[in-house]
């Protein structure tokens, strides 16, 4: 958000030409992302970056739901539906991956279309609880539907989408392409007319409804879009890991996606990406000390939630206000709710 734009309640500013600073940052980021696998050729860092790309898709698509004011604890279940669909179609039905990917988008979107209108009637804590339980149910389905999903052991020896993608560098570029497309789509969506309507209905649902915005319909559509996008992550991730197990798709893993958004700040796609980088890269780099890094992760969560519920975006806003001497505006209704 450029400093000139009025800092309203988290709503996207009117469409403007991107400033020179923003362009420079994007160009730099693009150059780093393109050069990454060449610089770190064959190293573990390429794998981590690929993971970050995939989780950025998951975190940003989840933010589409969070922005409508619903914190979903079952997003990873939809990622799993996408992953399983893709793997099963490729391995058991012999589909080519690009068709399986389309199915992997359609399947979670369809599931979202069925379950979304039911769940989205709930708000606040009830939505959190019911999606938590829904995520658990989906996990149980993955475990109990043994003939299809291979039970709790999952499915092994998943082939790469195409033979040339056995090369980690190639896989990185494919994931990067999908991540840029999906995240770009999310950002563009939130900066559109619909995006402003969404930000408005999170802050004041009744008022927005009165202004003629079809609140419920938009929520359902966003839920379906988010679920469909999450399928992209599911498919990419499952084919990269060569294995898919139900353990990766439970509510606790969904929480990870929520936390990515929370750490970054929930009203900014950049926040979701920062969160993804932080939560994926840190644990992977500290692999030798799994227990300790989980303990630190927990403590960080506690400290962040206790001291700055608005995440890093709130931190930046506070720093900016400290510098300019203006009062900070809370960027998120969720953060504001926490104050009361």
């Amino acid at each position: 958000m450029s400093p000139q734009a009025p800092l309203s309640l988290g709503a996207a500013p009117p469409r403007t030409m991107p400033g020179a600073g923003l362009l420079a940052i994007s160009a730099l980021a693009g150059a780093v992302l393109l050069a990454w696998p060449i610089v770190f050729q064959g190293s573990f860092l390429v794998y981590i970056a690929t993971l970050v790309m995939q989780f950025s898709i998951g975190a940003c698509s989840l933010q589409l739901i969070i922005r409508t004011g619903h914190i979903s604890m079952s997003h990873q279940a939809f990622v799993g539906i996408g992953g399983y669909t893709s793997v099963i179609l490729v391995m058991k039905a012999g589909w080519a991956w690009h068709f399986a990917l389309l199915a992997a988008i359609a399947a979670p979107a369809l599931a979202g279309a069925v379950i979304g209108p039911i769940l989205l009637r709930l708000t606040g804590k009830y939505f959190v609880l019911v999606t938590f339980l829904f995520g658990e149910i989906v996990r149980l389905v993955f475990i109990d539907w043994q003939s299809m999903t291979g039970g709790s052991n999952g499915i092994f020896e998943i082939p790469k989408p195409y033979p040339w993608m056995n090369d980690p560098t190639a896989y990185y570029y494919v994931s990067l392409g999908f991540a840029v497309a999906c995240v770009g789509f999310c950002i563009r969506l939130m900066r559109s007319e619909i995006g402003r309507a969404i930000d408005a209905m999170r802050e004041g649902p009744n008022l927005t409804e009165c202004a003629g915005v079809p609140v419920f319909r938009i929520k359902v559509v966003m839920f379906i879009i988010a679920c469909g996008l999450s399928g992209v992550m599911g498919s990419l991730n499952a084919h990269m890991n060569n294995v898919i197990t139900p353990g990766n798709y439970g509510p606790m893993e969904s929480l990870n996606l929520v936390v990515m958004n929370v750490l970054g700040g929930m009203t900014n796609m950049a926040g979701a990406i920062i969160g993804a980088v932080f939560l994926i890269a840190l644990p992977e780099l500290l692999r030798g000390y799994v227990e300790w890094q989980r303990v630190f992760y927990g403590i960080i969560l506690i400290v962040v939630m206790a001291s700055m519920p608005g995440g890093m975006v709130e931190l930046l806003a506070r720093l900016r206000s400290r510098l300019t001497g203006r009062e900070a505006h809370l960027a998120s209704a969720v953060a504001a709710e926490g104050r009361t």
Binding site: G124, L140, P309
Partner: protein, 299 residues
């Protein structure tokens, strides 16, 4: 086993007792959860981990130091509750009356506690030695064959019932309970009437953790003891509390009985997978039709 084989009074009696003992554990866990929510508006995702600590307390007191069982259970609960005041001081205090932040912050606490437990006690399952191995027999004159009841299940049921009775007395018949009920209804008005909410919060926290730890100790003895002990009780507490209504104490009792009984009977008749699906499905249905639960109040 076919359906009709199960429908004998003797087997049904045994399943009923199983259901009763497991229900009473669920109620204890859910009461702690609902107490924290009702008074402090905290959604305690770390609830299961306090149950796990209770299990470890019993493991050491009863399994290692040979404290008599009936003394070891409440003692384990009390020790865990008092030690957990540290968490109250450094974690929970910051989340009072902040429902959303508490969910995520306390999930963080849960992760930290689980992995600290792995570091301290490693990841292997342990057994808390059984306290009673005998079975009670009775009812031969009524049913023609005698009803065999494992004594430990009966003891679990009685211990939980005693804890519940003590809890009921504290809440309904003491000044402390009065303060808690007042704070649960309206914190600000309660404060204006001269109730020290800080003290009330601390008392409620102690009570809630005590009940959870006792339940966790009993649960750990029936099943197993490991860092994972907490995940199932938390899920059950969730379901019970949603069923009954968040923050409602009679609701937690009713929800616990419904869940414990239906789970035991369904699991005996159709297997554990079906019983899980049915209980989750029913809860989701209830949430959609009546989000405030069976005995809760709409907001």
């Amino acid at each position: 086993m076919s359906f009709t084989d199960l429908l004998t009074p003797v087997l049904m009696g045994q399943v009923l007792l199983d259901g009763m003992s497991i229900s009473s554990i669920y109620i204890l866990i859910a009461l702690g959860f609902t107490l924290l929510f009702g008074i402090m508006r905290v959604v305690n995702f770390a609830h299961g981990e306090f149950a796990m600590l209770g299990g470890w307390g019993l493991y050491y007191l009863y399994g290692q130091f040979n404290v008599p069982f009936l003394l070891a259970v409440p003692l384990a609960g009390a020790i865990v509750a008092v030690c957990s005041l540290v968490f109250e001081q450094f974690v929970f205090r910051f989340f009072y009356q902040k429902m959303f932040q508490s969910m995520i912050g306390l999930l963080g606490l849960s992760t930290a506690m689980i992995y600290t437990a792995v570091i301290i006690w490693d990841a292997y399952e342990r057994q808390i030695p059984p306290a009673f191995t005998s079975t009670l027999e009775f009812g031969e004159s009524i049913f023609g064959e005698s009803l065999l009841l494992p004594t430990d299940r009966v003891v679990v049921f009685l211990v939980s019932m005693a804890t519940l009775a003590a809890f009921y007395f504290l809440i309904m018949h003491t000044r402390m309970g009065l303060g808690m009920r007042a704070a649960a209804q309206d914190v600000e008005v309660a404060e204006a009437m001269g109730i020290r909410t800080r003290t009330v919060y601390r008392q409620a926290f102690l009570l809630a953790i005590f009940m959870t730890a006792v339940a966790g100790a009993l649960y750990g003895q029936i099943y197993f003891l490991s860092y994972e002990l907490g995940s199932q009780p938390l899920l059950k507490a969730f379901i019970v509390v949603i069923l009954g209504g968040m923050g409602s104490i009679p609701g937690a009792a009713l929800g616990g009985v419904i869940l414990g009984m239906s789970e035991t009977f369904l699991a005996t008749l159709f297997g554990a997978a079906v019983s899980n699906f049915v209980s989750f499905g029913v809860v989701i249905l209830i949430l959609i039709i009546r989000p405030w639960g069976l005995l809760g109040k709409p907001e």
